[in-house]
Amino acid sequence: MTALLEAIDVSVHFATRAGKVRAVEGVSLAVAAGEVLALVGESGSGKSTLGFTLAGLQSPTSGAVAYAGRGLDRAGWRSVRRDIQIVFQDPFGALDPRMLVGDIIGEPLRVQQIGTAAERRARVMQLLDQVGLPAESAQRFAHEFSGGQRQRIAIARALAPRPKLIVADEPLSALDVSVQSQILNLLADIRAAEGLALLFISHDLAVVHHLADRVAVLYLGHLVELASRDELFERTAHPYTASLLAAVPRLGRKRTRGGLSGEMPSPLAPPSGCVFHPRCPKAQDLCAESAPLLREVTSGHAVSCHFPLGGQG
């Protein structure tokens, strides 16, 4: 597995009036070419911030982002812009209300000066067809479309420069449930057809199970578990992941205990030791004192816990 896009010990802190917000703390992970890596966590876990950092929209406070093994500085980002695109959560805010849809989709091509004006128009038509919108959509404005259609437009824009990787920041969560599955299938189809990698940010584990090859779980800016999808769902090692899985409502199953109580602590004042220990059902004295390091319990399955589930370690 060769890494396409890599976060190397990335931390992102924001200075606010109330103090320093530690949105992302020392996260290292890699997305391989063609794979779907899901980034999972509650709101406030730093998953969107990490996604923005990996899309080059946010500079890390420390650590680095590497593309194809090359660390990216400002000039480096300029050269990989066409390879990494982004789809946002809110399809209403992501499309310029005063721009024609054709111009929106063609924007990355225009900005990157790919092809002639006529070639770009042809590509826009092809993209509209690919995401299942009629050709005359190009002449219309974003407000004339529904949420799902807008997300299709946003996906078409992301696909325009034929990227190697798309960062999708909760692309389904603003949509109606009936539309979610259509967009999910569209993403799965496109990724199969184009062979592109997807960094899929989500809090919906059912969707993640459907789409992801590997899953990274974030808690309070820390990477707590990283494993292939089946490994993570079947041999969960981190108590936090286990409680997330337990919280997923399923038909025909009684609500079980094991869901989390309490709120995630403020990233302004993260707990000592393991950041999860105040809410962890398995916490012991050690957890409040020292922060666990991320380590592999089995090959390709890394967990950051002193007492992982399943007896290993």
């Binding site: 946002f88 992501a94 310029d96 721009m99 924007e107």
Partner: protein, 299 residues
């Protein structure tokens, strides 16, 4: 595939009040330009006083009668309109242009540039207007490197007014544009453009400016009317358009004292300023409609 500008033009065409305003402005331009052929054909000198025909009523030779110095009112309205319209449009565009440029830079780039530009703007706002105008009006153009011949010509006087108004009138637009740009720069579509590799000036041109077009247009249209009247204040202070050269502003000013004895001297320039301001405002409405695809056509 039609471009965005064709779409905007179509939307402007669909706005009836804006189209009527365009026709109105066209007629006003024809009216003020008609001064040249009329002056040439009839040989009337609009600046020459004739005390025997003071306050003459309308006649065939002078359709709108004579003013307090016995000058042809119609011809003076035409010539005054050339100056008032040009000053109104040029000063608005130059001053507004300065305001939009500084405001959008401050709002989009933020940080230290924002701080410097906005403190500069606050400084301009804090300067008292009247002494500032007197100082700017007293600037000796020959010291700025212009030839003596140009410095004392009518053109220099005209440009002096335009520059003075532009220099004192850009601040409110700058503040307005900065506030609007601040909002737009955080939108996801601006982020998406950045992720696609668009540079700041490309983003300002394609995303920021179209999305803050509404406040810019409102501010510009309000400024045109204000500037036309402001010009008369400058004339009153002794620079700007100096009598006997007419402008709508100074004609209206002069007529103030005579409003009981010769009200029509105030009515005509007042009506023309009113028409101009109305037409510009409705055209502004139409432009807002053209730029905002979500707005429904007024009629």
């Amino acid at each position: 595939m039609t471009g965005i500008w064709i779409t905007r033009w179509r939307r402007l065409r669909g706005h009836r009040a804006a189209m009527l305003s365009l026709i109105m402005l066209g007629l006003l331009i024809v009216f003020v330009l008609a001064a040249f052929p009329i002056e040439a054909l009839t040989g009337i000198d609009p600046d020459e006083a004739d005390l025997l025909s003071r306050f003459d009523p309308p006649s065939w030779a002078h359709p709108l009668g004579m003013d307090e110095a016995g000058r042809d009112v119609l011809l003076r309205l035409m010539i005054g309109g050339q100056i008032s319209l040009l000053v109104g449009v040029l000063a608005t565009i130059i001053g507004g242009g300065i305001g939009v440029c500084l405001g959008v830079m401050a709002g989009y780039f933020g940080g230290r540039l924002d701080g410097v530009l906005m403190r500069f703007t606050d400084g301009m706002i804090a300067l008292p207007l009247l002494p500032l105008l007197i100082v700017l009006g007293a600037v000796d153009l020959t010291k700025l490197g212009f030839s003596a011949e140009f410095s004392h010509s009518g053109a220099a006087g005209f440009w002096r007014i335009v520059v003075i108004i532009a220099l004192v009138d850009w601040t409110s637009i700058a503040r307005l544009v900065r506030a609007s740009a601040l909002q737009i720069r955080e939108r996801d579509y601006v982020r998406a453009a950045r992720a696609a590799g668009a540079g700041p000036f490309d983003i300002i041109r394609t995303h920021i400016l179209p999305n803050i077009a509404t406040p810019i247009i409102v501010s510009f249209t309000l400024t045109v009317g204000r500037v036309i009247l402001f010009e008369s204040v400058l004339s009153f202070l002794g620079f700007g358009v100096v009598p006997p050269t007419p402008s709508w502003g100074n004609m209206l000013n002069n007529a103030q004292e005579l409003v009981t004895s010769a009200p029509w001297l105030a009515v005509w320039p007042g009506a023309l300023i009113f028409l101009t301001v109305m037409a510009v405002n409705f055209l502004g409405d139409g432009l807002q409609h053209a730029f905002d695809p979500r707005s429904e056509a007024g009629e």
